[in-house]
């Protein structure tokens, strides 16, 4: 049995256990948490985060970070929304092409700044976080796209027994899993993050891979933009995507992706998103005011990291012990 993988399995099992314990604890306090309706609420909370998290995971695995995804979501959403508003003749599915295309272009721009000028991703995307948000205000003239302009077919994707946005999110997760684990380029992303010095010596085109992960992250942020319009039925230049990057990075890190690059699994991130979703859904039920949400989120991340750390240290100790025996 692969020792490191078993550590990760343990880590993923660890998150799963945390989820179960959390659900049971909240369920005892507030039995209505265990109803199908509540489950639906949770499932509707997570698709956007899950899609964003898949892109962010690839970026973190490559030893970068993308802080701009919330603003990218907003810019893609607002432009798509304006298209719906001012060009009502355009068939609504074109909105997906527009949103994803804008997102990909934005992500590509991030990657280009990082690779061309050798700037750290955290600085570049901190800059573009503000830049893209500013552009959102400028193009929309700071006006919200109201409910009546969002195509009803699009809004319908967030309703029904199995809402489409959930299916799309799971599809993205499956595609990411396949990409990360079964393609040559996917492995190169892990290799790049694991040892950026060695990567070019092994023929990995570092700039191309970097551009690619940022483009993917941007494209997925763009996808969450149109799905935001579907889910909430409006696009607001200041609310849409606000704090999104924070939720996503939290989920990804809770899911076991190393901020030092090279390590991460789709399953872990899915579980991380799920845990975050459960916490979000439980807060209002438990009577915790919305104002306290940020603090709770922060605490959850730190607790998850502490648990992760102790699990991982035990795993490494076990690994060392098994080596010593061998």
């Amino acid at each position: 049995m692969n020792a490191l993988r078993s550590v990760f399995l343990r880590r993923e099992a660890g998150i799963a256990v945390m989820i179960v314990l959390f659900v049971i604890a909240v369920g005892i306090a507030k039995p209505q948490f265990l109803t199908a309706n509540e489950f639906r609420i949770i499932l509707l909370l997570i698709p956007l985060i899950l899609i964003g998290a898949m892109g962010e995971m690839l970026v973190l695995v490559a030893r970068h970070v993308d802080l701009s995804i919330g603003s990218s979501q907003a810019l893609a959403a607002i432009i798509t929304g304006m298209m719906f508003k001012f060009m009502p003749g355009v068939p609504w599915p074109v909105g997906f092409v527009v949103a994803i295309g804008i997102g990909a272009a934005i992500g590509f721009a991030n990657g280009a700044l990082i690779t061309l000028f050798r700037l750290p991703a955290i600085i570049v995307t901190l800059g573009t976080l503000n830049l893209y948000r500013g552009l959102t205000f400028i193009v929309s003239n700071a006006k919200q796209i109201d409910r009546q302009y969002i195509p009803s077919d699009l809004k319908a994707m967030s309703t029904g027994p199995v809402p489409w946005i959930i299916v799309i999110a799971l599809g993205v997760a499956l595609l990411t899993y396949w990409f990360a684990n079964h393609t040559r380029v996917g492995r190169q992303v892990f290799a790049l993050g694991s040892n950026p010095v060695a990567a070019p010596l092994r023929g990995i085109r570092v700039n191309a891979v970097t551009l690619m992960v940022f483009s993917i992250s941007g494209a997925l942020a763009g996808l969450t933009g149109i799905l935001y319009a579907s889910r909430w039925g409006f696009v607001n230049p200041s609310n849409t995507g606000s704090g999104f990057e924070f939720q996503v990075i939290a989920a990804v890190v809770i899911g076991g992706v190393s901020i030092n690059g090279g390590v991460g699994s789709v399953l872990g991130v899915v579980l991380g998103v799920l845990l975050l979703g459960c916490v979000s859904a439980a807060l209002p039920l438990l009577g915790i005011p919305g104002t306290a949400q940020s603090a709770i989120y922060g605490a959850v991340i730190i607790i998850a990291l502490l648990i992760d750390r102790s699990v991982r240290q035990r795993g490494i100790a076990a690994l060392a012990a098994s080596r010593a025996r061998a």
Partner: protein, 507 residues
């Protein structure tokens, strides 16, 4: 095939390389035969590594041409080199620690579409086959992280075999290996040679070159000085060619008078690492601490210095029983410790040479917490002069200095504390022969000035040349205390080899 068996595998002509305005390689001509192990020797900066990296496609030559099997080739990148059958194995193998061994083996291979499915099962099977071929037991599904450096090198060699390399370049492969691992590496290297592959072997250790290599090329100051059969050169010849002058044998200064006991350690024990260690070092005395890597020597030093204190036993400094639970106490008591791995434990890479040198004496340079720039500068300048540290400026980051000069700067740092007891852990590992000789002289002078010196070293000639007494550790215990007169390579090694394995070595 067009080429005759006598056509060299590689024929390099007029290879030159400039970095910025500095010429690091001048018009080197070199032929490599098929099925030979060819040593490249020279001090750091002599150009041997640059030459090897040009063959491996890491650097491109400024001038010159390379022919492979008589055909001119352009080695434009490491991948191009790989395709031509040339693989460079780095000293600290460059790998991807989070990826599995099998994944590391295939990374860089370019067959198949980028988004095509990777055939994991077949890949794992191939990787296992390669490991069997090399006769090493490595689980290819395990991540590289956690593999010993020796095993990581084996993976690199397996990678060379996977691409059927004709030329394998090993850049100082043995420095981080234990003697047993070196033997395994040599066995494999010889086998690869007998299969008709060519190996370039870069090392500082003459005895290894002698044991392994067929021919040797010596570099000095960017020039190729000579290419000879190894059997036609004596060690003295090689050193003379390397440094351009004969090296005077360092002779132990008998002059130092040995005085009071400066450091006394009694029954020091730390379970799992070492037990029952008792030793004394007197003023003016150089006591060697030999043994194999992993015998616990560094752990004892770290325990004495308070980095990782022992769980039982006593330490006496200058006649006073002391308890040292952290390094600052050790420094106050007049102890100094120059650690083995300077990159990890010694230097502050991004700080200046000056700041590195004065790092151990904060109170002297900053009385009251405010740094006196003038004092700092004077102290650093004196040290640089005294230890002949070669640098461009005191303000330059220490990481830019050569290994030997970094090591001197660390030594300078500790000398500033004016220690009574100096513990040196592998002080000359990986530094040039010329600088080594300077180091030996300095260590001798330090002892002559009345300091007690505990010298941990894996290099037997170093222990024999410098020490008044040699202590030997094996598996966490002291196994010998050999006075200078009786010390020999044999007496040290026989005490260093673990009991359990001793039989096999003796046989």
């Amino acid at each position: 095939m067009a080429e005759t068996p006598d056509t060299p595998l590689i024929s390099a002509r007029g290879i030159a390389k400039q970095f910025a305005a500095i010429e690091v390689l001048r018009d080197v001509d070199l032929d490599l035969r098929r099925g030979e192990i060819h040593a490249l020797l020279g001090e750091n900066g002599a150009g041997k590594s640059t030459f090897a990296k040009i063959l491996a496609g890491v650097h491109r030559p400024t001038r010159g041409s390379i022919a492979l099997n008589g055909q001119p080739v352009d080695i434009s990148s490491p991948i191009a080199a790989q395709k031509l059958g040339i693989t460079l194995i780095h000293q600290e193998p460059i790998s991807f620690p989070d990826l599995s061994v099998a994944e590391n083996l295939v990374l860089g291979r370019t067959d198949g579409a980028p988004l095509g499915r990777v055939p994991w099962t077949a890949m794992t099977r191939d990787a296992r086959r390669l490991m069997d071929l090399l006769g090493v037991r490595i689980d290819v599904t395990k991540p590289m992280r956690g593999l010993s450096i020796a095993d990581q090198q084996m993976v690199e060699i397996a990678r060379a075999l996977a691409s059927d390399s004709r030329l394998i370049i090993m850049d100082e492969p043995t420095a981080p290996l234990t003697p047993k691992e070196v033997e395994t590496l040599f066995t494999i290297a010889r086998r690869l040679r007998d299969e008709g592959r060519t190996i370039i072997f870069i090392s500082h250790r003459l005895e290894e070159v002698r044991a392994l290599c067929d021919r040797v090329t010596i570099f000095r100051d960017g020039n190729k000085i000579a290419t000879e059969d190894i059997t036609s050169l004596t060690d003295a010849d090689i050193i003379r060619l390397m440094i351009g002058r004969p090296l005077r044998e360092y002779m132990h200064k008998q002059g130092a008078t040995i005085g009071e006991v400066a450091l006394k350690v009694d029954r020091l024990t730390k379970p799992g690492l070492f037990s029952d260690i008792s030793l004394e070092v007197r003023k003016g005395e150089i006591v060697g601490l030999g043994g194999l890597v992993g015998a616990g020597r560094t752990d004892v030093a770290r325990a004495i210095f308070g980095v990782a204190p022992a769980s039982s036993g006593t330490v006496t400094v200058n006649g006073k029983a002391v308890v040292i639970s952290e390094p600052s106490q050790a420094i106050d008591l007049g102890l100094a410790f120059v650690p083995e791995d300077r990159a990890v434990a010694g230097i502050f890479r991004t700080l200046s040479v000056e700041e590195n040198i004065t790092a151990a004496v904060p109170k002297k340079i900053a009385p009251g917490g405010i740094i006196r720039r003038v004092v700092e500068k004077t102290m650093a300048q004196d040290s640089v002069k005294r230890l002949r540290i070669r640098l461009a400026s005191l303000r330059q980051p220490i990481g830019e200095l050569s290994g030997g000069n970094q090591q001197k700067a660390i030594l300078a740092r500790w000398l500033l504390t004016d220690p009574d007891v100096l513990i040196l852990d592998e002080p000359t590992r990986g530094i040039d022969i010329g600088v080594k000789a300077e180091f030996y002289e300095m260590i001798g002078e330090l002892a002559a000035s009345g300091r007690a010196i505990l010298l941990i070293s894996s290099e037997l000639p170093e222990l024999l040349a410098l020490c008044d007494r040699v202590l030997v550790m094996s598996e966490g215990r002291l196994t010998a205390d050999i006075p200078r007169a009786d010390a020999s390579q044999e007496s040290i090694m026989s005490a260093a080899v673990p009991r359990s394995a001793g039989q096999a070595v003796a046989a």
